[in-house]
């Protein structure tokens, strides 16, 4: 699964996700990627999110929208909200994967609970960041 979240010079956030799904899937199984709120969410008032991981969990826990709701209603930073959902909500129930998050100020966060996640960011303020493994 691939995804991107961007904020432009007018402060508009857009999030998108595209995927080939799951190896050997049957019965027209569909994961979280096309589900608005599960795999993708954007709201200028909070943040934009694209998710990758075990779709059945990301759907049931409405992961992308839940991250932004924590920012919007609890006043958490995107780092706090993303870390909470990925590590405290998903991981205890066996949901694995990660999200990328960006807010309207261009702050970004890329939490995940698997061994690795292919990820990158480039902002006017911070330049380019590329990572694959944990501790990068």
């Amino acid at each position: 699964t691939v995804g991107a979240v961007a904020v432009d010079q007018r402060g508009n956030i857009v999030a998108g996700t595209s995927t080939g799904g799951m190896t050997a899937k049957r019965y027209n199984r569909i994961g979280d990627a096309p589900i608005i709120g599960a795999g993708t969410w954007a709201d200028n008032a909070s943040c934009g999110v694209s998710a990758t991981g075990h779709g059945e969990y990301f759907i049931r826990y409405n992961v992308s929208a839940q991250v932004c709701s924590r920012v919007k209603y609890l006043g958490e930073s995107i780092e706090e909200a993303g870390a909470h959902v990925i590590h405290n909500v998903l991981l205890p129930v066996g949901g694995t994967g990660g999200v990328i998050i960006m807010d309207a100020q261009g702050n970004f966060s890329m939490p995940f609970n698997t061994e690795g996640m292919y990820r990158g960011a480039r902002t006017q303020r911070e330049g380019t960041v590329i990572g694959i493994y944990q501790q990068e």
Binding site: T1, D8, S18, G20, T23, D43, T96, G120
Partner: protein, 182 residues
Amino acid sequence: VNFGLVIHGGAGTITRENMTPEREEAFKAALNAALDAGYAILEAGGESMDAVIAAIQVMEEEPLFNAGRGSVYTFDGGHELDASIMHGGLLDAGAVAGVRTVKSPIQLAREVMENSRHVMLSAEGAAEFAEERGLELVENSYFNTEHRYEQLQRALELLREEDRTGDQIAQSGTWDPAFNMG
């Protein structure tokens, strides 16, 4: 505004032990290419919608990632692709599921958002809409890659051993992320 973008190319059982230096460099180069495509649009004053589409299309065309070319195989040996997009200023959204012949599913998701009365279209209907909108269509085999085919064979072998379907494995408590994410 501190404009910019953030991207991902999938998560899973990715460790230094199962990665060669050449493959790692290939992934980093692909991620950089996607950032280049999206950031150039933002830097020139363009819209985040165009930047997201540009970045994702680079990754859809890159066989390393599970999207577009390089997508994993279904049980029956084909490809079914999904995509979605959402605009945070308008709260407009578009999505497609189970498309087999649309070259860029993320572009189709945008078309659904901007040029239909709906949020999600699926399967043959989504392809019909793509054709009406003039999007590029391809044979399903366009998405084939050797390494994903080998993954499918290993997955089918596992399924035969366990006498279960991939869907059942996905719902089990002992589900292995490597099975899904390669």
